[in-house]
């Protein structure tokens, strides 16, 4: 059965296509991308509403799906449902589950669960060290063979420079990145918020930007020394961006990602609209206006490679405690696209093309996965975006099991309209698509 997406604008940076084209899909592949494709009898036509944009499926390369072990927060089923509702055709999930994904058994379990749900693709990220304890390398080749696309001890930094070095050397043979959660534990201490005026006024222990910058500088140096590929996870500080730029200038294999909350909120959110809202507690923390300004610049000028949400679901009970005791993290899969469109594209900080690079082309490249392109023959992972649709974020309506978001009530312009994985429509947003039928 063939399907024809007719009447939309197609934006495929990989092939340079940007204009009004029709897309013909057969089974799980893109067959043709041309103007004026005929609607034959064996083709089902989908009328794409005026103004909608068809892009290669978006990929969120940093999410926490919490399964196995923390299913009260999220499961692979609910997490992938949240992903496709956010317009993502694939997600890369972190290994800090219970047990930690440091062996093929857990990796396989995750892949099986994802296949059962049949929604977004799941690319597991394995642990760098056994149990992510930072002492001994995990069986990285086994993890890679089982399907891991990268390794990380996320939740913690890779503990010592020596282990980071070994990991980078070893993974260079496997051609997968070491993804590091950069922070110096001694400078972070028991900090819970960005070290600055707002934390000081509220009596919250601070985490200085330097805690992140120092580790980024370490990792960039080691990437240069070993030739391995380091990817900086959830980068938040202007100093970190400086170090990344320096590494790229030197030709080191350094890439980095930024989460939407880090380019839309500052540490002022600790104070307003509500004080001590645990839904603004995450690690790395929301930083100050100068850090946000630097990140916006980096998103525009290409120094930042990807946007990734660091989707971190937590049960409501866990967040209804004193700020100090609340776990770090917020959900992000369903707020990312509206935030990026509203705050980056509509403000003309970046073009829609760059948006696709940040959310599809580059993540596919960094994880060395198919995707990020719509050329004939590519797998039919497609996101249909309604860039002008006005939406209001309602925490209660999120498909994620957890609703810990600071964006509840935000009115934004831009939303995913439909998500197609392997040629199957796995999500449509009727509020946005209206009468158009994408199935």
């Amino acid at each position: 059965m063939k399907r024809l997406l007719k009447g939309g604008r197609v934006l495929d940076p990989a092939s340079g296509v940007d204009g009004d084209y029709d897309v013909l899909i057969e089974a799980d592949r893109v067959l043709r991308v041309e103007r004026g494709l005929p609607a034959d009898d064996d083709v089902r036509v989908i009328e794409v509403p005026r103004g909608f944009v068809i892009v290669p499926g978006l990929i969120d390369m940093h999410v926490h799906l919490r399964e196995p072990g923390q299913e009260h927060k999220e499961t692979i089923a609910t997490g992938t449902a949240s992903a496709v509702a956010g317009g993502f055709t694939a997600v890369a999930c972190m290994p800090n589950t219970s047990p930690v994904n440091d062996n093929a058994g857990v990796t396989q379990f995750m892949l099986n669960k994802a296949a059962e749900s049949g929604l977004a693709r799941v690319y597991p990220i394995g642990a760098v060290t056994r149990g992510s304890k930072g002492e001994q390398l995990a069986d990285l080749a086994e993890l890679h063979a089982a399907g891991c696309v990268g390794v990380s001890d996320d939740g913690h930094p890779v503990r010592t420079a020596l282990i980071m070095r070994r990991a980078l050397e070893y993974t260079s043979m496997l051609k997968m990145p070491v993804i590091d959660h950069c922070e110096d534990p001694s400078l972070k201490g028991d900090g819970v918020a960005h070290e600055g005026f707002h934390a000081a006024a509220l009596g919250l222990r601070g985490i200085p930007g330097a805690a992140e910058e120092i580790m980024v500088a370490r990792d960039v140096t080691l990437a240069g020394m070993t030739g391995g590929h380091v990817h900086i996870a959830h980068m938040s500080a202007k100093g970190s961006l400086r170090a990344v730029r320096h590494g790229k200038e030197q030709g080191f294999a350094v890439t980095c990602e930024v989460a939407p909350h880090h380019f839309t909120l500052t540490d002022e959110a600790l104070h307003r609209p509500v004080q001590y809202d645990t839904n603004v507690k995450m690690n790395p923390p929301l930083r100050d206006a100068t850090d946000v300004a630097a990140l916006l610049e980096g998103l525009a000028d290409g120094s930042i490679d990807a946007i990734a949400t660091d989707h971190a679901p937590h049960h409501a009970d866990e967040k209804l405690v004193e700020f100090d005791r609340a776990p770090f993290g917020i959900v992000g899969l369903e707020t990312c696209v509206p935030l990026a469109l509203d705050r980056l594209v509509h403000t003309e900080r970046i073009s829609l093309r760059r948006f696709v690079e940040l959310l599809s082309v580059n993540p596919a490249r960094i994880l060395r996965r198919p995707g990020g392109a719509l050329a004939p023959g590519s797998v039919a992972d497609i996101t249909v975006i309604a860039p002008d649709a006005r939406v209001t974020i309602h925490a209660r309506a999120l498909r994620s099991k957890s609703k810990n978001t600071p964006f509840d009530g935000w009115e934004l312009r831009g939303a995913p309209a439909a998500t197609i994985v392997g040629g199957r429509t796995v999500f449509t947003n009727p509020a946005v698509t209206g009468s158009a039928v994408f199935a």
Partner: protein
């Protein structure tokens, strides 16, 4: 003190030239000085003036809060603040309930929210909360029906302490505006500091903060204060010197090398006090570490008003309880 009672007459019968005096507190909670306007602060101080007089009567009791229940929910040990609140509550004829929770960071037990909601099931009218986490009172104010009074939350605020400090200063100096107030000690970890800075700047004092650079909170100058590590500069011609407690754990955290060195560089000695104005007053929220932040001779000397602070604490807390209690019955009926 005639000056202060004249002041209260003025605020009741004549409109002040620049701002209208407050006749009530806007919020049903006292979470911090942050939420108080200068007029509300003056209202509390003026009311405390009247409450002080009750301590001088043979029967130190008024029936104002008769039949009301106030819970003192203290997650941190505290003799001074808790007994001060208790005396204040009893003088207003309220029924008091002291709940002391011994916490251990290892044992998880019941959450703060659950503890408070369970207490609320017994319908207290007010909860006085002291807790080790900054923002604990804000959390309870969101989930509880009772009025919440902050008796100290983590490193954030200790509003009744700042109010009794201001009351004490006003007793001696007649005003706060234009006074040079030097605050010396562990600024970073002190909730008394934050509350005092907010209150003193709001009422027009010239505030100087002093301590080792390791203990100065980032960005604190934004609150409108001078910051210096030089204690001589801070106390020069000061009208008020406030000392903050230094805790032993700070030494272990590497904030300064030793208590001995702290005393040498920052300790308030008689010699340092002489740089202040001749009628300067010395204050300390207590408990004191003699020989660390303050020399014994200074603590016991003629300029010290430390014991008065304690006495004023009861009057100020009575004022807060009284001002927050209005409207309880109407809300209950609604």
């Amino acid at each position: 003190m005639t000056k202060s009672s004249l002041k209260s007459k003025d605020s009741e019968t004549a409109l002040a030239p620049t701002s209208r005096p407050a006749s009530r507190l806007r919020s049903k909670h006292l979470l911090g000085i942050e939420e108080l306007s200068p007029e509300e602060i003056v209202l509390i101080l003026d009311t405390a003036e009247a409450m002080r007089e009750i301590a001088e009567r043979p029967i130190k009791k008024v029936p104002t809060l008769r039949g009301r229940t106030v819970v003192n929910l203290f997650f941190e040990p505290s003799t001074r603040t808790r007994t001060s609140f208790e005396v204040a509550e009893k003088r207003l004829s309220a029924d008091t309930l002291n709940v002391a929770i011994a916490t251990s960071s290892v044992v998880k037990g019941e959450t703060l929210v659950d503890t408070a909601l369970n207490l609320e099931a017994m319908s207290p009218d007010m909860i006085v909360l002291r807790h080790a986490a900054s923002g604990a009172c804000h959390l309870l104010a969101r989930v509880c029906r009772s009025r919440i009074i902050n008796a100290g939350d983590g490193m954030h605020e200790h509003p009744t302490q700042a109010l009794l400090d201001a009351f004490t200063i006003r007793q001696h100096k007649g005003r706060l505006a234009g006074l040079k107030v030097a605050i010396v000690g562990d600024l970073l970890h002190s909730r008394v500091l934050r509350s005092n800075v907010l209150l003193l700047t709001r009422l027009g004092a010239d505030v100087w903060l002093c301590g080792p650079p390791t203990l100065i909170p980032t960005g604190i100058e934004r609150l409108g204060v001078h910051v210096t590590p030089a204690v001589d500069e801070a106390v020069a011609d000061a009208d008020v010197i406030m000392l903050l407690r230094i805790q032993l754990e700070r030494m272990e955290g590497g904030f300064f090398p030793s208590l001995r060195e702290y005393f040498q560089v920052f300790g308030m000695t008689e010699e340092r006090v002489r740089r202040a104005r001749p009628d300067a007053i010395i204050m300390h929220p207590g408990p004191m570490n003699r020989g660390v932040e303050i020399a014994s001779e200074v603590a016991d000397g003629p300029y010290s008003v430390i014991l008065e602070q304690v006495a004023n604490g009861v009057a100020v807390r009575m004022a807060v309880l009284y001002l927050l209690a209005g409207g309880i019955d109407d809300e209950a009926a609604a």
